[in-house]
Symmetry: C2
Subunit: 127 residues, 2 copies
DNA sequence: ATACATGCAAATAGTTTGCAAGAAG
DNA sequence: CTTCTTGCAAACTATTTGCATGTAT
C-alpha cells in the first residue's frame, strides 16, 4: 500500500462518473507531481484483479474505471452523449436460468437513450 | 464493391467463429497476396457502419468480427476458453421495459461457463 | 475524366514493460 | 537487508491515416 496507490484509489472512490486512466493520472499529478502514468496503469490493473474497482471497456475510446462494484449496466446515450449507470436487478440470475450457463461476471454496454432523453423523446412522439 | 471488399466479406460469411482483423488479413492474403492490412481494417469499419457485420470488443485482445447480425450475446468460457454465442430472446425488450430506456444496440459479454462446461460442473457437484 | 479504393508506410492511441533507483516492512 | 514499487523511457499492440498510385465507372 504505497502513497501512489492510496491516491489513485481515493480519486476513483471520490468520483461519481467513469474516469479513464489518463484522467486519473491528471488528477493524481495535481496532488503528487512526481507520479508516473505507468504507475497509474499498474495500480489500476491490480485493483481490477483484486476486484476493488471495475473496468469498463468501450468501442470508442480508452477503458474507464468505476468504483461501483454492484453489478450494473452501462448505457451510452445517443441523446446527451453521457455514459450512464443503469441497474437492473437479477440480470445475472436471469441469464443463468435462461442460458443454462454459469455467470461469473458480465459487462453489458447499451447504446440508446437514457431515461431522461427517452422520456423527452416520448413526449415529442405523443404531441 | 471492390474485389478486396468482396473477399473480406466472403471470409467472414464463411466462418462460423469470431475472427480478428489479423486473422481475416491472413486468410485474405492467401487468396490475394497483394492485399494490405489497412484495407482490411478500412473495409471492416465500413461493414460495421453499414451493419453488415458485428464488431465484438473484448478486454483481452483485438476486436473480433461476427457475421451473425441477430441480437445475441457472447460468453467467454472459463472452462474451455472459447468465445461462444448465446441467444436469449427478447433481452432488448426486457431492458427497455425495465430500464425505461430506448435500446438501439447492446453488447453483452459474459465471463463464466458455457452450457457444455456448466453441465459437466453440475455433475461433479452432484457426485 | 473523375471519383473512389488501394497498398504502403508512417503515425497514432492506449497500454505494458525492463530497469535502475527509491521506499517500505 | 530484502522485497516490492516507483519513475522513466522505450516497446508494444491494435488501429488509423496521408499519400501516390491504381481501378472502376
Amino acid at each position: 500500500m504505497t502513497r501512489q496507490r492510496q491516491l489513485i484509489y481515493k480519486i476513483i472512490m471520490n468520483t461519481e462518473g467513469h474516469l479513464s486512466a489518463d484522467e486519473i493520472f491528471s488528477y493524481a499529478k495535481a496532488e503528487m507531481p512526481s507520479i508516473a502514468l505507468g504507475t497509474v496503469y499498474r495500480n489500476l490493473r491490480l485493483m481490477v484483479e483484486d476486484q476493488e474497482i471495475r473496468q469498463i471497456i468501450t468501442d470508442y475510446g480508452p477503458d474507464r474505471y468505476d468504483r461501483n462494484m454492484i453489478p450494473h449496466e452501462h448505457l451510452h446515450c445517443d441523446g446527451c452523449g453521457k455514459l450512464v449507470d443503469i441497474t437492473f436487478g437479477g440480470l445475472k440470475e436471469l441469464l443463468e436460468n435462461k442460458g443454462e450457463i454459469a455467470v461469473n461476471d458480465y459487462q453489458l454496454n447499451i447504446r440508446g437513450l437514457c431515461p431522461v432523453c427517452n422520456a423527452k423523446q416520448k413526449k415529442i412522439r405523443v404531441q
